[in-house]
Amino acid sequence: MSTGLLILLLLLFPAFGAILLAGRGWRLPRIFTVIVGPGAVWASFLCTVALWFGKTNGDFTYYTWIKSGSFDVPFGILIDNLSIFMCFVITGVGGLIITYAVGYMEREDDPSYARFFCYMDVFVFSMLLLVLADNFIFLIVGWAMVGLSSYLLIGFWYQRHSAVVAARKAFVMNVIGDVGMILGTFVLFMNLHSVTYSDVFNALSHGDNGNLELAAFLLLVGAIAKSAQLPLHTWLPDAMEGPTPVSALIHAATMVTAGVYLVGRMHPIYDVATYAHAAVAIVGAVTALFAATIAIVQVDIKRVLAYSTMSQIGYMFLAVGIGAYAAGFFHLLSHAFFKALLFMAAGNVIHAMKDEQDMRKYGGLWGQMRPTAITFLVGSLSLVGVIPFVGFFSKEQVLGLAFSKPDDAMVQVLWAVGFATALITGFYTGRMWWLSFWGKPSPQRRVEHPHAPPPVMMIPVAILAILATIGGFIQTRALGFGPATVDDFLSSVVGNPAWEGGGAEIAVTFLTMILAAALFVWALYSRPWSAVVPWAQRLLERKYYFDEAYHWAFVRPTDWVAGFALRDIEQPVIDAAVVDTGIVARAGAGGLSLTQNGYFRNYVLVFVGGAVVAAVILIVRANS
């Protein structure tokens, strides 16, 4: 099979799956959905493996999508180590999650069941398009289409009002990001006269630096919106209205990390645009801390995980923002493992608790759901960054690189923020774990004897638990020695950071881990901590009032301005012209006096009358 076809199949398998399911799929037996939905993703996974084995590299152009003057957009796919890496995450972790969903969505009726897997396949297709595109236009296409899939899946239970509103919010906020991407692309096209990556990157030296900064900032708007970073983050917690596998796949493992991919892919631009590049790191670090603090007080288990996702993506932004691209991608991979694991294990609990998501109403599950509790513990320790779990190696590498970046005071500060975040991570993760699994069953718990998850839900969780346990050993740079598989694999695309860590870095690494782990344990004894600072509690529970601020700053004013424009301009001013036209007509027809005319009537009269007079004069002149 030719490579070109293989790449096309990698991309199109999920699309075929979606089309089959969207067609008459749901009228066939449920087993059809079960095979086609996850099967399409696994088929893509096999293609990825094949391409990886074949060491495929290159730019494959299939046809000219649009050509208009110098604006020439090919439908082209770029295969390099970065896109292969992303395809592995998307189809591998994605495959596990979609397989898990076979069990999780069991209670849906047949049409909804097929609809769910159809949307999931649409998502995988869009995400693959996003990472495989070789030009900005198809990047935007993929970018907007993952937004669509996210919208569809958040609003999957469309009879719930809250889900519908959350879906719309996510979509609109993502459109803001899309607009940023589009305008950024315009800037690049205007200055560098192309929209394909290779042409743009090769022409960068001819670009004006100010314009490159502008483009990089505009692209960053897209990245921030998609990755739920400050200040375009408010949609992500609400997105937890979607089914849990959706949260695991889209709102933890893949889509929300697209911003990291974007900055990594555009690294030639960000390497030149230093201000925008610094902004990436700052946004990342600030979001990491910001989200972690909110996670402390959340009581909905999925929302804790959502804020934790924002926080961890903040680390990735920090990494790519300081130029440690491969470290950022390693954390992306590691986060995909442990956060998908956490979401799916939480899904098992939610499933067993009859859709209860309030952790205060769990408790004592350690004894009753032992396998799930163990896997959740693995995920938690990984999130906290305890050796030897994968999160230790990835997060500590990011922090270590920030710590040891020479001659950059700003990065030192950002490291301190990241360090504080790591400690808070230990605390909120501990609180989540103890509340859910430890102690006695909560008196408010509705399910006395939770059922064990079926194998189709347990096996993917177990696989991810194994990956989260041993996956870190592919890259142990945080310890200063050992393999660096991810760094080596990606160095051909994103290069290596220019500086090396030293002994102090490793000491700090262990300090971070030990303190975070201590806080993880301490969280057990600190349940009533919140009463100590009620105003802080309130501030965090209201999520720093971002939702309220946006409501009053944007949503209400838009409605108000629109209403004002309708009542006070559209109807009395703009429409009045036409109303008066009608009066003129009636008056004219009845032969009535026109002496009482207002301004608009005169205006129309002058128009019509003047036109006739002018026409007569001109015709006479033309004839003479």
Binding site: T64, W65, I66, K67, S68, G69, F71, P111, I137, I140, V141, A144, M145, L148, G155, Y158, Q159, R160, H161, V164, A167, R168, F171, V172, V175, I176, D178, V179, I182, L183, F186, F189, M190, T558, D559, V561, A562, G563, A565, L566, E570, I574, D575, A577, V578, V579, T581, G582, V584, A585, V604, F607, V608, A611, A614, A615, L618, I619, R621, A622
Partner: protein, 479 residues
């Protein structure tokens, strides 16, 4: 003779149809529309993408004393509007319910379609004007005789008077152009090479642009539109909104842009129009956000989307203008589908207020699916047709002046707000309000199916249309 048949067949066919019994009238009318569509399709297939100038030209002396000729031709700009007109006319006639008065309705629809075809084919300024006025007559009678709501006659009068103000001024412009160029010709291709002095252009641009701005409509000349669209029956809107609105934008592109290329020192209309276009984008979107009447909401969304088209035209570069033509076709398809959907929801529930409906998806799964696709097409989702057109018009605008594109992009953010509020509010959530009589009928689905298929085809392969836009009939257009 090919092009002549394109307006003669609907006109003669329409005349005959008016005297047939209802059921027969509908099907005979559809047959006439099919014939016109086949001829238009033939023109598209036979069209040479590299030819420089108008194609399929016809020229007959009409009033030779004033060098007025009956002159027809198509180029890459008008071709697709011609096809769109023929296609949507067929859809409109098929969507017409059979009642005692169907004959007259279908007849007038065909007559309007003939006038529109003439506007798109005329390459003589006087002939253009004649068709421009001619299409107004059937539109007026359609609104007056077949309009719905409390005061259809009032809406019809508003529409006609407002439009007449513009077009009478345009007549002045036509004559002024003839005199000021001084070469005794009304040939649009010739006139594009014979620009009068800038100060004359200043005046001529104004009168033509006013007529086109009213027709498009452009902010703030749009106030006839909500009333007219509100009163128009849904099948009429398929072409009334889908094609006739494009006549104004087409006029900008065919006449205002190539014939009046130079501004005077102290004033440049070519900046006024794009600013109004951006205003239309935002204004239309804001008005759509506050409408609770579904039909009015869609009407205002149309004003917003037409703004993108005019913006692209006045980008004065190839991406903007090709994007504008592409978007004319895209918008025609989308707005037709939207009006059909909204109209059918109203038919099946008896309600036009979107706030009084919720959760219809449960009862109408097919409608929900179709409506979702059209909603996403309307808000410019990639993969569906509108994305490419809007992207290209914005790219064009950005190259002219980034600030235009930036403000127009606000429209991109507002569009999902009102489209999703409409779609989600009506289709999703807990069911509220009356139970719809049924889901879409098979016949209704088969009418929407070609529109939706085209949304996908044009979204996936826009080059299908743009590859023929390289053949232009006049100088002064970006290529």
């Amino acid at each position: 003779m090919t092009l002549t048949t394109l307006w003669l067949i609907p006109l003669v066919g329409g005349g005959l149809v008016a005297f047939l019994p209802s059921r027969l009238a509908k099907w005979f009318g559809a047959l006439v529309a099919v014939v016109a569509l086949v001829v238009a399709g033939f023109v598209a297939v036979d069209f040479a993408p590299d030819y420089n100038g108008f194609q399929f030209t016809e020229k007959v002396a009409w009033i030779p004393q004033f060098s007025i000729f009956y002159r027809l031709g198509v180029d890459g700009i008008s071709l697709w509007l011609l096809v769109l007109n023929a296609f949507l006319t067929l859809i409109a006639i098929l969507a017409t319910p059979v009642t005692a008065r169907t004959g007259g309705f279908v007849g007038l629809m065909l007559a309007m379609s003939a006038g529109l075809a003439g506007v798109f084919m005329a390459t003589d300024l006087v002939l253009f004007y004649v068709f421009w006025e001619a299409m107004l007559i059937p539109a007026y009678f359609l609104l007056w005789l077949y309009g719905e709501g409390p005061r259809p006659g009032w809406a019809a009068l508003k529409f006609v008077l407002y439009t007449l103000v513009g077009s009478l001024l345009m007549l002045v412009g036509v004559i002024g152009e003839y005199i000021s160029t001084g070469h005794q010709t009304f040939d649009l291709a010739e006139l594009a090479k014979l620009a009068p002095s800038p100060s004359v252009q200043f005046a001529l641009f104004f009168v033509f642009a006013l007529a086109f701005a009213i027709k498009t409509p452009l902010f703030p000349f749009h106030s006839w539109l909500p009333d007219a669209y509100n009163a128009a029956p849904v099948p009429m809107l398929v072409t009334f909104a889908g094609v006739m609105g494009k006549a104004g934008a087409y006029g900008f592109l065919r006449i205002a842009v190539p014939l009046f290329p130079q501004p005077v020192d102290w004033w440049d209309w070519r900046w006024v129009i794009p600013v109004l276009a951006v205003a239309a984008i935002i204004w239309g979107a804001l008005m759509a956000i506050v409408q609770s009447d579904m039909k009015l909401l869609v009407s205002y969304s149309s004003i917003s989307h037409m703004g993108f088209i005019v913006l692209g035209i006045f980008a004065f570069n190839v991406q903007g203008q090709q994007g504008a033509v592409l978007q004319m076709v895209n918008h025609g398809i989308i707005i037709a589908a939207l009006f059909l959907i909204v109209g059918w929801i109203t038919d099946l529930t008896g309600i036009r207020d979107r706030n009084a409906l919720a959760g219809l998806a449960r009862r109408m799964p097919v409608m929900a699916g179709v409506f979702a696709v059209v909603t996403f097409a309307a808000l410019g989702l990639p993969g569906l047709n509108s994305f490419v057109g809007e992207f290209m018009t914005l790219l064009g605008a950005w190259q002219r002046a980034p600030v235009l594109a930036v403000f127009a992009a606000i429209g991109l953010v507002l569009t999902p707000v009102y489209m999703l509020r409409l779609f989600q509010g009506v289709m999703q959530g807990r069911p509220v309000g009356p139970v719809p009589r049924s889901d879409l009928y098979a016949g209704q689905v088969s009418l929407l199916a070609p529109l939706i298929i085209l949304m996908f085809i044009l979204g996936l392969d826009p080059a299908l249309l743009t590859s023929l836009m390289t053949s232009l009939g006049q100088a002064g257009l970006a290529r």
